[in-house]
Amino acid sequence: MQEYQKVIARLERLARDRGLSFDPVFFRLTDSDEIAEVASMGLPNRFVHWLWGGAYKELSIQQAKEVFSILELVLNTSPSYAFLRHTNTYLQNVLVIAHVYGHVDFFRNNHWYRKSNKNMLNEAELHARIIRAYEAKYGREKVEELLNQMLTVATSVNAFERNPAERHKRLIYYLEEKFWESLRRRLQEALGLTDAELDQLALTEDVMDRLPADAAELVLKTHLLRMIREEAEYFDIIQRTHIINEGWATFVEAELLREILSTREWATISVQLSNRPAPYTIGYTLFKHIRDARGFDEVLRVRRDYDDIRLVDAVLTEEMVQRLDLFVYDPKEKSKSYDLHQVKDMLIAQKLYKGEPHIEVEPGDGGELVLRHHEEDKKLDPKRIERFLRAVRGLWGPNVRLWANGKCYPQPPAA
């Protein structure tokens, strides 16, 4: 790590000179394996799930193949932690360090990030411990099945949504609320607690032990779902600011490196910068445009106030769509459209629901859960519907319906 201290100090100074600010950053030199591990789990020490195992496998294969990897990893915590691959060359790690300063500045200053849970690293570890305890108590299979089901509905979180009525339409919040209502009733009956006491109540071991045995399942579900939702919200913020965050980090990386690299090195790097995955290049292009059109102060303002949707909506132009070669592809017609509005709408829709179909909970009576897909013109893959409904039933109970593809799943019994 010693060899990097000088360049770290220099890059940090350059970043601050430009008006960036951040919490202390700890860089850690590590191997591809740990990088693949943290990148696939999202947070180190998070509970172990097979889903991360698949991502980990892919990443380790990819990391092993690539001599050169700039997969950068920064945790949104205070202080921030960032990882450098020790098999990278010095220059490659310098790239990563410069990029990291973009991210940590974003974590500290972006409006949406300020609401994020900087303690998630520790909370995730606590969650993992609780989950292990539940596994010991209720059996690993039972807990894993519930986790599968909950992770399935967890894509419906929206950490930016503050309106309770809107949140209520999203499946995971709806379920959490209903679970909690039922549990509250049981707690009231069993322990005679007041509403105020209930609001303060933490789901600790001794509370649970005072509940009648048949409430155990409800406690398990409520508690697991709450933890899954909290973690999902942490990742949701990352997703909803993916373009702006990566674009900003790449922009900062370029700004800082230009200062310290030779012309020749800079030329190589700038080719490499335009060769990155889409969120990086889209965001990077947008920031460069803002700098050129409106100056550096405006750049700082945008990184502070915007999220992906607003950035795309406010900055993307016809010309950039062409240059980035972004288009809406219609597989039926095999046609491409570079129309600015279409591309923008599609990008925004994708950010709103993270590329997932827009499903809402319909108001209904207590026993039944009715879901509706809200873009009637878009067909859902019918093969997945049954599996999805099975997962939701595992949480809710047998009475679950989904309106999609112009019909009701499952078909209601003929009257």
């Binding site: 030199l29 394996d33 591990e37 696939s40 789990m41 999202g42 180190p44 020490n45 998070r46 799930h49 097979w50 889903l51 195992g53 698949g54 991502a55 980990y56 496998k57 380790s60 990819q62 690539e66 599968n148 992770l151 399935t152 967890a154 894509t155 999902a232 990742f235 997703q239 993916h242 373009i243 990566e246 335009s274 060769n275 990155r276 995955p277 889409a278 969120p279 990086y280 290049t281 070669d325 809406v328 592809y329 597989p331 491409k336 599609m346 990008l347 950010k351 993270k354 590329g355 997932e356 179909p357 897909h373 878009k378 067909k379 859902l380 893959d381 997945r384 519907i385 999805f388 999609a404």
Partner: protein, 395 residues
């Protein structure tokens, strides 16, 4: 620094690996449950990997159907950053679907099941060996209690019953005979206590054993799913036994219709059917590939529906006879998923193989028949073992 690193690594809980083993456990279950569908894919290997159409090792989140318009980026926009291709299926042309990528996290991402071909083969073998109730090899030597200084004592080895020294052919045949005798069924229900035979010879006599295996596939007929499935299953099970026997397996692949062509492994497992049938061409190419091969045991495995064109019949017969001379063993698989009676050129081979010690014929109709074919194949080793100075001792 290095020492500190090691100490840290030693303590680290490898959560990634634990998660992966959970994932792989589910993956095995999935492969096992879907082996038939997977093995029948026309393009079994793409870029050295087996891809699956059925997405299942993901969470059952809802997804759009295939016909819904998507946001995409052409290659002019960027170089398609590494690991970015997860967004969706190939839409033809140089473009990349951006759906999953813009999400940025693994939640809800399409995790298509995809694995190394070698890994797939290993899993398939495990399933097939199980389904056919063939004896499986366990961990190779060097595991557990048999690893001791006394290993030179061959009698001890014999007594311990080291699995790697199991004379599989002899054991299987013995089991077959015993089951026929005792239960009236032709079954490899190996009872190790009763049936096991072991090699007790000096293992160094094996060390120069290498095999050249030439796989010849008739692609003229309709390459229906079952056809491919039978061929591939047979090959995978063959590999299982051949790899145990030979430290080196030199494999060559040929496909033929009117003409024959050598193919790479990946091409061999991703073929389209076409053309008429000249079985003679398949034999010719196989023999051509033997040029310069000397110190190997030479195997030819040919898979066909036997319907060679009538003009080719006599030539094919001659080439077959020649191949029998050139190869140590010529295994002819009549691929017959419909289970019809054997006709055409296959009928000829079926007759000829009975008379010839280095020929086997298998009517591949179902998994059960693959099992029969394996018995015949393994019988070759048994007979040859008889011709060689290696001693098999009945326990």
């Amino acid at each position: 620094m290095a020492a500190a690193r090691r100490a840290y690594d030693g303590m680290r809980i490898r959560r990634g690996r634990i998660a992966q083993s959970k994932h792989d456990h589910l993956l095995r279950e999935y492969i096992k449950n879907n082996l038939n569908d997977l093995i029948q894919q026309k393009e079994l290997i793409v870029d050295g990997r087996v891809k699956t159409q059925i997405a299942t090792l993901d969470l059952p989140t809802l997804k759009y159907g295939e016909e819904v318009p998507v946001l995409a980026q052409g290659q002019g926009g960027q170089g398609g950053g590494k690991g970015a291709g997860k967004g969706g299926q190939d839409a033809g042309g140089e473009m990349q679907m951006l759906g999953g990528i813009l999400g940025g996290d693994h939640h809800g991402r399409e995790l298509r099941v995809e694995l190394d071909f070698d890994e797939f083969v290993r899993l398939a073998q495990e399933v097939l060996i199980g389904q056919m109730e063939l004896p499986a090899f366990h961990e190779p030597v060097g595991q557990g209690e048999v690893e001791s200084e006394d290993i030179a004592e061959l009698d001890d080895l014999d007594r311990i019953g080291l699995r790697a020294d199991l004379n599989l052919e002899e054991t299987m045949l013995h089991s077959l005979r015993r089951n026929a005798r005792e239960r009236g069924v032709l079954d490899f229900d190996v009872d190790i206590q009763q049936d096991a035979w072991y090699f007790v010879e000096d293992p160094s006599s094996f060390e120069n054993h290498r095999s050249v295996e030439i796989y010849v596939l008739d692609i003229s007929g309709s390459m229906r799913g079952e056809y491919l499935s039978l061929v591939r299953k047979t090959i995978f099970v063959l590999w299982y036994y051949l790899e145990q026997r030979y430290p080196t397996n030199l494999r060559k692949y040929v496909v033929f219709q009117d003409v024959a062509e050598e193919k790479s492994r990946d091409e061999f497992f991703s073929v389209e059917s076409s053309g008429g049938t000249h079985i003679s061409a398949g034999f010719e190419k196989a023999m051509e590939l033997l040029e310069g091969v000397t110190e190997y045991d030479k195997f030819l495995f040919l898979f066909t529906d036997g319907e060679t064109s009538s003009s080719d019949f006599d030539l094919a017969k001659r080439r077959y006879e020649e191949a029998l001379e050139r190869f140590d063993l010529v295994c002819y698989g009549h691929v017959n998923p419909g289970g019809r009676s054997v006709g055409g050129f296959s009928e000829h081979v079926q007759e000829a193989a009975r008379r010839h010690p280095s020929a086997t014929f298998a009517n591949l109709t179902d998994l059960e028949s693959v099992k029969g074919a394996m018995a015949e194949f393994l019988n070759f080793f048994k007979e040859r073992a008889g011709r060689r100075p290696c001693r098999s001792i009945r326990r």
